[in-house]
Chain length 403, copies 2
Amino acid sequence: MINVSVLGYGTVGSGVVEILKENADLITKRAGEEIRVKSVLDLRDFPGDPVQDMIVHDFEEIKNDPDVQIVVETMGGVHPAYEFVKASLESGKSVSTSNKALVAAYGPELLEIAQEHNVNFLFEASVGGGIPIIRPLKISLAPDEILEISGILNGTTNYILTEMTNNGSAFDTVLKDAQDKGYAEKDPTADVEGYDACRKIAILTSLAYGKQLDFEDIYTEGITKITDRDICYAKKIGAKVKIFGSSKKVGDKVSAMVAPKLITSEHPLYSVDGVFNAILVKGNMVGDVMFYGQGAGKLATASAVVSDVIDEAKHVNVNMRTLWDHEKLALMPMDEVKSKFFVRVKGTKDEVQEQAAKLFGKITAVDAGFDDEFGFVTEEITEAVYEQAAKEMEIINKIRFDA
Amino acid sequence: MINVSVLGYGTVGSGVVEILKENADLITKRAGEEIRVKSVLDLRDFPGDPVQDMIVHDFEEIKNDPDVQIVVETMGGVHPAYEFVKASLESGKSVSTSNKALVAAYGPELLEIAQEHNVNFLFEASVGGGIPIIRPLKISLAPDEILEISGILNGTTNYILTEMTNNGSAFDTVLKDAQDKGYAEKDPTADVEGYDACRKIAILTSLAYGKQLDFEDIYTEGITKITDRDICYAKKIGAKVKIFGSSKKVGDKVSAMVAPKLITSEHPLYSVDGVFNAILVKGNMVGDVMFYGQGAGKLATASAVVSDVIDEAKHVNVNMRTLWDHEKLALMPMDEVKSKFFVRVKGTKDEVQEQAAKLFGKITAVDAGFDDEFGFVTEEITEAVYEQAAKEMEIINKIRFDA
């Protein structure tokens, strides 16, 4: 029998308890042993809830419980999650977490502690919710040098952009609707500004190269500037606007960013709509592989957490090596990163086309029927070239064009 | 240092040797140990090839080599692959294979032998080529009861159907072209009759439920009867024809089949075209997850084989339990399986519509502009009802409609 303690009885934590109960028989079979929840840490009490008698208010109780072999951390936030996870690992307990903020900030340190204590620190649920991506990236793609990762990593923003595309609605209207439906938080900043996706691409990229990519170093642009006019232009060129967390090997460096991008129907992630997430990984041997599913939600995310718990139950006192050093990954300066850009500038086509071509190089005009502005797509240019040229014109908006 | 022996220096086998050489540095890092090919079994010699000095003609030499810890089986076919794999496992060597015929026929026995000898028998490459699907199904989806698996599991037939759809060409023309391009074998039977997909869905379904589903018991229908007229009808209803290997939990039984199906753009696999493969798995907790990539090809398939080799190198003398018993999976009789059917019958609409409705129940006519026949879609009916009704009319073709 394996005893589990769950830290935080919120959405994901209660999902973990539910899955371990509902699917108990098959989980016992697959793990080779019964896995049961022994205690649940929460500041609140839950009278009438199945866990009411398991609630513990003091983490020390769990840390000092020799029966607890696996700790599930679903509290969210960096502190005190970090202190609790660290103490759990140091007490010889394996940890499974859904906490992307924790993993992005302290991944290498916690993995090192787990290795020292011959236990495991797993975090499948920290990226892509229920989509198996961390384990496939670590194990299934281990033979491959990773050339590129492109992910639709945030369901809230993908939902908003999908609705804007399908209904021509404005950003604010769709955000309000998403909040009403519970798809977006009251304070949507982390989602719409790309901070959530940024931590996720930091984790994936660090794992792909075995070195630390600090999320603070990743250029991050949200979707708040995307308007219905951008969507009109996108449709004109047969494209959709999606926000990507992406990274790419360029020589001996890696470029990384979070930004809205235009993609056409040729792109494997073109049809990933609504709250769904998907991650495309390009390996130097396997080519393109893609993983798709529910990027959030109680049971989908909890399923990923429980997959880690089962794996840990099968690896008691055996550390499964995860390569993710403290050493910093060599990041390509954003200035040098190359993209095509879709650009909208003030002024009529006649007034500004010539100047745009002089500044941005070869451009292709896009006519979406607006008389007071001029839209065009550049060839592949560096961010530095874009920035320099943009200074000379009245830019309304720009979106990178992944084609 | 881990020594590997490769049985069969064909397409996949030579890909394995290439990957272990080309990506040696990162594989050493990820495996925690150097992995090198020590010997290659083949009847032929390969003068001038990097493996020329490793070639061995007698399997006994490999079996009796105490230095060889991992055997890669990429010979294909059931015999002597079965005898060689069995002997390897009994000699305490782990085995990684790409051989779907072997795994479908002898999976439970070979897994049992591996467990007895504390080694591993892995077969990621046997389904979906380079797509990580076996390991995610076994480990990432371990918390879930699997409700449904739907896979585009054969690149050759998906390529043929895609070309028929895009260019309106006839089956024979596209097959010939696919053979010329090397996408189809000279003898295309195993692909176009669905036998290849049948073994793959047998493996996936057996793993999903931990019991043996014999591929011989799976209803299997190929794509040789699909004509350009079927494609016209498909387009009329906004659908594509794809051949699926699929299985589904219905009560305490599982239904399984290989058959062409019509799917609309709502289906997550609608845009999986050309030689690509994709597998959709529905779990009772995680919901829909989808895996996509190159279902065949030298390096993609070899990458999957090498991922197993690395996993085995990390699990020396530790059997990773795989649940797949000899016990037979309770298969739902095909008669009871329910589908919607798209049906084409001889005669004009006026002549046969009434009779069709009498026989098949509520139907929806589809007009693709052919005067000498009548096309319609039924509601969901059992195979038995379909068969009974079909006897009474002159059926030109039928395709199940997954909508």
